[in-house]
Every structure is written in C-alpha cells, then in structure tokens.
C-alpha cells in the first residue's frame, strides 16, 4: 500500500485499529492527545469501544477489566499519566493480562514540561508498580517503526499475556512522516483466550477468575517463578536492536528513539573526518539488548551513551559492559533534543581531537 503522510499520534492510533484493538480507555494529556481524539471518532466505525475515563487510574483499571474479559485493549498516556497507571500495570502483570500501552514521553519530574524527553527510561523499564514484574517495552526511532510495533504489540502482548509498552518521545508523537500501515508484519499463532472472565461460564462449563492475589507464600513464589520463566523467554527471544557501522568502529554511540536519528547524521560527519564511529540502537528497552553488545568488535574501545535524560539508559549500558570498555555519557534534559553538532563535538573530545 502507498505511504500516507500522518501525524505520529494519529498514525499510532490507526495502527492500533489495524492491529486488532477492540477497546481503548484513556485520559487526556499532552503530547499524546491525538491518540484518543483520533480513536474517539474512528473506533465506532469499526464497531469497537472508546471510553474517555475520569482519570488515568480509572483508565488503566478499565483496561484491566476489558483485558480480563479477553479483549485486545489499548491505553495511551504520557509520563505523569503513566505514573498513575503503575498500580494497574502491576495488577495486569500479576494477573497475566495482555494490553498495549502507548507512552508519549514528556519532560519531568512532576508536571515537568510537554516537550519531548527520554527521562522516563527508568519508569518504562523498571516500572513503578509493586512486585517482581516486567513490561516488554519498545523505544522506536521512526514513525514507520513505531506503527509497525504498535500493530505487532497486540500479538506480542497476547502471546506473553503481559502488558507491552511503546515508549516514544513527544517528537515522534507530534511530527508528520509518511507511513505504510498495511505492510507485512510478523503474525503470531495465538491460542484462544480460554482463561478470560467474560461472563460465558455457562457456555464454557467452568468459571474463570482473574486475580493477582496469592495468599500462601508457596503459592505466590510458584507464581513469581512462573512469571520469571516468561520474562526469561522475553529476554531470550525479544531483544531487538540495530547496529549501524559498528563493524570497524573505535567508538560506538548507544542511543534510542529520536536521539538515534540525530546520531545517524553524526556518524556521517565524523566518518568523513576519519573518526570511526558506529551506533548501537536498542529497539527493546526491556529486555535491554545485551546480545548487541556481545557482537561489538574488539576495536570498539569506548561506548558513548547519548540520551534525552541525565543518564538512565546509561546505567543499563554500564551493567552489560561489565567494565570491558571505557564508558562516556552525554545527555540533554528538560525537553531539549541534542543537536548533531554537540554530539559530534563530544565524540571528537573523547577521541582526543579538537572540536570543529
């Protein structure tokens, strides 16, 4: 199908419809408002459900209910709203319910700003809900990659029976780019949701219960271990990343989302100057793509993390690096997108050259 020019948020909304989303529950917050706005109009055309909830807390609990009843459910929000959704996300992980969460990140802490930011890396990858759980999270770079992931996310969530988050910065939500929403994407073979509590116990011949409560310690530990097995499978199978010109690189920049886009042009400039620089771009934020680091060449003596935060993903880089390579960090905060020149200068400094 031909590409269409769409605003990021609207493209994500349409991608969700195409991914088979049955129901959306959300609450207004900038910079993601075009997601619910688009869906409030278009979900009806497909005979699907749209509800504007009274709060993010209510929205995520509606998601929990609808997901428990077997539907493919979406919610979208931005940083402070995601903070409020953490309890519900923990409940869904605990009750093994699938759902897709779009997070169009803005600046923080607190009310912060409505400018693009990656300051929620920790919130996205660690979650703020209680208990031993993980949310499979993607940090895509382009709008095309974002919509492809939104469409796949419903399958992935159903497969693992776990929430999946698409974390983009406000720039991806707000910019316009040509996208193809009908291209081939991988489809998964999924079993029927015979566990759903959907009011069909008569038909089914047994009653279903959706619950995260396990009062006996043995029972809960067993449940925790079962969840862990699922997370291990995600770590094994779901790590996604892209490596750009890393084969001969002396220095590798680690960046995701909008920053990775900027870094691509930095690589071109620096390579012309003879500086061998590459890019390791995580696509999954959780699980963090450790496997990509194993593939780096011996020549890569240094890793430079660049983020729109003050060093959150950098902690993961430090962890997988295990002291092997020299590490450096460059970050901008407050909703500022680092410019190619500043990143290039940072690299020049690190390799001992002088800033251009």
């Amino acid at each position: 199908m031909a590409k269409v020019l769409m605003k990021g948020n609207e493209a994500m909304a349409l991608a969700a419809i195409k991914g088979g989303c049955d129901a959306f529950f959300g609450y207004p917050i900038t910079p993601q408002n075009e997601v619910p706005e688009y869906l409030s109009y278009h979900m009806k055309e497909y005979g699907r459900v749209f509800v504007q909830a009274e709060s993010e807390v209510a929205a995520i609990n509606m998601v929990y209910g609808a997901a428990g009843a077997g539907a493919r459910v979406l919610t979208s929000s931005s940083s402070p709203g995601i903070a409020l959704k953490q309890e519900g996300i923990s409940y869904m992980a605990g009750s093994q319910l699938p759902a897709v969460i779009i997070n169009v990140m803005r600046g923080g802490p607190g009310l912060g700003s409505i400018q693009p930011s990656q300051g929620d890396y920790n919130q996205v990858t660690r979650g703020g809900g209680n208990g031993d759980y993980h949310v499979l999270s993607f940090g895509p770079e382009t709008l095309q990659e974002t919509v492809d992931l939104v469409r796949q996310a419903f399958d992935i969530a159903d497969y693992y029976r776990n929430p999946v988050m698409i974390a983009v910065d406000g720039l991806i939500g707000q910019m316009m780019e040509p996208v193809d929403l009908d291209n081939e994407i991988p489809k998964m073979d999924l079993p029927p949701k015979d566990w759903a509590a959907n009011g069909k116990s008569g038909e089914r011949g047994k009653r279903n219960t959706i619950v995260s409560l396990h009062l006996d310690t043995q029972g809960l530990e067993g449940h925790n271990l079962a969840l862990k097995k699922k997370y291990d499978e995600m770590v094994e199978k779901e790590q996604r990343y892209e490596m750009i010109q890393t084969d001969d690189a002396d220095i590798v920049i680690v960046a995701y989302g909008t920053v990775a886009r900027v870094v691509r042009s930095v690589i071109e400039t620096l390579r012309e100057e003879g500086i061998k620089v590459g890019l390791l771009r995580p696509i999954t934020l959780w699980p963090f793509p450790e496997k990509a680091f194993e593939k780096l060449p011996e020549s890569a003596k240094m890793l430079l993390t660049v983020e729109m935060s003050l060093g959150q993903m950098h902690q993961d880089v430090r962890m997988v690096n295990e002291g092997k390579r020299k590490l450096a960090f460059y970050g901008r905060a407050g909703g500022i997108v680092p410019e190619a020149d500043e990143i290039a200068d940072e690299v020049r400094k690190l390799v001992g050259g002088s800033p251009a």
Partner: protein
Amino acid sequence: MKAQTIYKPTEGLTERQLTYCPGCTHGIIHKLIGEVLVEQGLLDTAVGIASVGCSVMSYEFFNCDTQQAAHGRAPAVATGIKRVNPEATVFTYQGDGDLASIGLAEIVHSAHRGENITVIFVNNAIYGMTGGQMAPTTLIGQKTTTSPRGREQAEAGLPLRMSEMLATVPGATYLERVSVHDPKHIRKAKKALQKAFDVQTKKQGFSMIEFISTCPVNWGMTPQDSLNWAVDQMIPYYPLGLFKDATKEEN
C-alpha cells in the same frame, strides 16, 4: 420418615468456606446475591468483581466468572468488562472504604456515565480488613483504631452518605439502601437486589444497592449487639429506602 431437603446452599455460591468472622453480615449479603443470580438465570453470564476489603476473596465465593480489582477500582474494572461484553451481567462487591474513600471517583463516574452495571455496596462504617480504622462512613463519636476518642466532625467531617450523594448524579438509574439485620429486612433487601439486576438486564443503566452491614469484630461487639447497633445507630443516620428510580421517571 424419609429425609427431605428443606434448605440447601445456593448454587450461586461455590462450596468454598466463607472467610468472614462469625456474626458478620457479609455472608448474608453473599447468599442473597447468589440466590438472585440463580433465580434470574444470570449466573452463567455473570462476572463478579471482588474489591479490596474483607470481601477480597469473594472471587472464590461467587459461582461465576470473577475478577479481582485493585482497591477502589472495581467500577472501572466493571466498566471495562461490560463495554467489551455488553451481554454479560457485571456486578461489583465493594466495602465502604473501597467505594466511599479511595474509589470515590470511580463510583461517581461510573454512575455518571450510566454504566449498565450493578454495584453491591457493603457499608459497615469501618475498614474491616485492615483492623478497624476510620472510614468516611464512620459515625460521629464512633471509636475506631484511628479515631480512638471517637470520630470528631471538626477533624474528620461528617460521615458520607453515598446513596444520597449518587442520587444527585444524573446518570444513575437505581439506588436503594437496605439492611439485613432481621428476616423481614433480608427479604426486602433481596427484592432490591432483584430490581437492581433487573435494571441491568433491561439495559437501563447504573444500579447500586447499599447494604447496612455489621463488623462485630472491629466494632468490639457480640453479633447480636452489633445488629442492634446497626439498627439503633447506623440506620438513623443512613435511612433505608429508595433514593432513585429512574426506571419510573422514564415511564
């Protein structure tokens, strides 16, 4: 003489032993719900939402599909279930701490949206499960573990009357307060429940039945004294009766 069955437990409840203290009226309310679901032929299509409180395990007691909700969020969970499964009979079972305190926004807004669900609200004027702390519904002068000198209006305000409050919400359809302190009132309470589920079956919108309930353990009373206290202290402040019936207004 041949043995005759004159009474048996309702099939609306599972065989799991209830976890409530002796003399607690949660059990009577469960039984009524189970009976009504069976009698109205709704058990096979029902989804019950357990909340957080002494009734947290009710997902094990109602003999239908169930889902356990976070503290206060049962009406939002019910909304999600009902919207994607409009043919299911969806009900929540919530205490007063759950519904009138932490879950105030969710209950008001599901009523406001006119969600076609049924809410069972069990008002025992206290946080039972956590050991008897003050609830928004705790009476003036009532001693709890966090109002050890008795609730004072100056500090904690006056007890919240949820049925009266929701009656002011335009979207609500059916609201009634009942009690289960004697057989006569139990029969009346059952009628109210029948009506509430009937409202849902007829797709007429939001219904809530508030039950005056006892907590002998945290009130520090015998079961009989607590029934008397409910009648003498609670009902005067929380009068029984119908607060809204929009099915009549429509006719």
